[in-house]
Amino acid sequence: MTAIDTTAGVREADELRADGRRPVWEEKPTAIGQGAKGAALTVALLIILFPVWIVFATSISDAETISRTGGLVVWPDGISLDAYRELLSGGEVSQAMIVSIGVTVVGTLFSMVVSVLAAYGLSRLGTFAHRPLLFTLMATMFFGGAGIIPTYLLIQSLGLMNTYAALILPMAVNVFNILVLRAFFMNIGQEIIDSARIDGAGELRILLQLVLPLSRAVLAVISLFYAVAYWGNWFAGFIYITDQDKLPLQNILQQIVLANERPAGMAQLIGTGQIPSLAVQTAVMILALLPVAVLSPFVQRHFKKGMLIGAVKG
């Protein structure tokens, strides 16, 4: 995208400030300015972190603490992991966790294989049919999803209703991700690839042994994007899955927190107050956010670069 196209300056300006030193020509910050900035940042971070903390604190609180506060817990006095223990020891939520983890792992692997192959296949300019193939991919970005009605009818007539494939196949290819990968591959020095070819390496070998090891950062980012999409997908489960025991975690989360249903097998424990229903709700929320909260910080330093390449080079 030419609009934000000045990659040449990226490193320069970034590195100048990267060591955290103020350039000599810049004025000393005023106390008021510093204070205002600090306050704004604190508020922004609190708005994000405070609800997450409360949910977490409630999920690890014992029944006594929760009933004393009359609801959500800001600071857990009595800690109890009963809700997690019950949820993970079989039953509806465990089953949904298995479904979600399975769909996320299989889906991400599948998406990555398909996307990396396509991105590499399209990364060499002037190959046979390069332009028509690229156009076939990019045109779908303009038209977006073709409409939920025909897609739904298609899934139905392919016999995919109520299968895990319906949770994976329709969203397996993300063209934007392929374009980011492709841009990254195109930036790899052509000389390396040429020398490998002279040594007799085939395309697959070049991809696996040369290109992929050089692309770890972008592979991590794109894998995370796919994984997050699969993990967080509620809609596919909602329309394509009718068996309760095939539903992914997000759908179960909706049932438990928003529709206020009790997970099968735990009704008794909740009814008798052994485990507060609030602890169950918040524990399921934590289970639903845990994977992305754990993974994304590791990948986050690559985000900007990935986005830049995707936006600038396409």
Partner: protein
């Protein structure tokens, strides 16, 4: 589920293509490397085919998946001109072949459909609110983050700000439920303080428009800063230095250097946002629909789902989808026009 017509900034292939001329001596013969320069008349078709078939095979899985799950459904939209019955035949296409054609009837039906117009009204209202209240926040946050010199602090702040983007919509909504719902934190405090006994923002139809705007801000405002940070990091530091040497204070530098650097990105995102005005919806609305009722929450996307899949009125729903798609394209083109008129690049370049 969205049928967005103008989703990501689709980069013109030509820009990248022309930038990297991969020609070199000895790369163009029949044994030459794939991608050695433009297709050349000197390399016959069958040699190029033999040379490049591994690369084409690699691309095929993605292309096949897209044809099945993106192109076939596009073709499936013809049911909008039919009275489609899924029971008319064996499978989608057989049913399609056996269904009666109705011409534009499904389209004219929209004119008298009050629910449809309610959905249109809600959609436009919600996306205008987002344009007004959501859009400026990432810009402000990016300026704030950019002004932080402390490296660790900046990285931490970014990690936290990005986080909600990776939460699913269900999770975001359940978090709001725990904060502002009938049994949520605020309701709990209000009960303790004796302010109110029946506080529940999650089921209040009148408040719904603010609720969803707040949810969008909470989820994505932090993530939205990335593209602005990227644009800011491309500003040549010498510009600031020389401006400072010329006596420009920090506000003047921000006004004359930082903001102009963001201008093209802001224009681009505005165009895309306007183009997507009709495409808000999906999970966020479907999940909360039962809580506040369709009158307050129905948007075009959820209405398509509701009439089509819930009520089995497939043809009518597909027709709404088409109308939405066409108007979205028109919106992008119009917004892009305006951007061009203001001297910006927009999504595609003016030729």
């Amino acid at each position: 589920m969205s049928q967005s017509t103008a989703p990501h900034p689709p980069p013109p292939p030509s820009a990248a293509e022309t930038r990297q001329p991969r020609r070199g001596p000895g790369r163009r013969g029949r044994t030459g490397a794939p991608g050695a320069g433009r297709p050349s008349a000197r390399v016959p078709l069958r040699h190029r085919l033999r040379r490049d078939y591994p690369l084409i095979l690699m691309t095929l899985p993605a292309v096949v998946l897209l044809i099945v799950f993106a192109y076939v459904p596009i073709a499936g939209n013809v049911i909008a001109f039919q009275f489609f019955s899924p029971y008319a035949g064996d499978g989608f296409f057989d049913s399609m072949a056996n269904s009666a054609w109705t011409g534009m009837e499904n389209f004219s039906r929209m004119l008298d459909d009050r629910d449809f117009w309610n959905a249109v009204q809600n959609t436009l209202l919600f996306s205008s609110l987002q344009l007004l209240f959501y859009f400026p926040i990432p810009i402000a946050l990016a300026l704030l983050i950019n002004s932080i010199l402390h490296r660790r602090l900046r990285a931490w702040a970014q990690a936290v700000l990005y986080l909600p983007h990776f939460f699913s919509w269900v999770l975001v909504i359940t978090v709001f439920q725990q904060m502002f719902g009938g049994a949520g934190l605020v309701a709990q405090l209000f009960r303790d303080w004796g302010v109110s006994d029946s506080f529940d923002l999650m089921t209040d139809p009148g408040f719904f428009k603010w609720l969803i705007t707040a949810q969008v801000i909470w989820k994505d405002a932090g993530w939205g800063i990335i593209v602005f940070l990227a644009a800011l990091s491309t500003v040549n530091a010498e510009l600031y230095e020389s401006a400072a040497a010329d006596g420009a204070g920090r506000w003047r530098r921000m006004w004359h250097i930082t903001l102009p650097a963001l201008r093209p990105v802001i224009a681009l995102l505005l165009v895309l946002q306007v183009g997507n005005m009709l495409t808000i919806g999906g999970e966020q609305y479907l999940i909360q629909r039962t809580a506040v009722g369709p009158g307050a929450s129905e948007v075009l996307d959820s209405y398509v789902w509701n009439t089509g899949i819930q009520n089995g009125d497939f043809s009518y729903a597909a027709a709404i989808g088409i109308v939405k798609g066409v108007f979205s394209v028109l919106l992008v083109l119009a917004a892009n026009r305006v951007a061009h008129a203001m001297g910006e690049q927009g999504v595609y370049q003016r030729r």
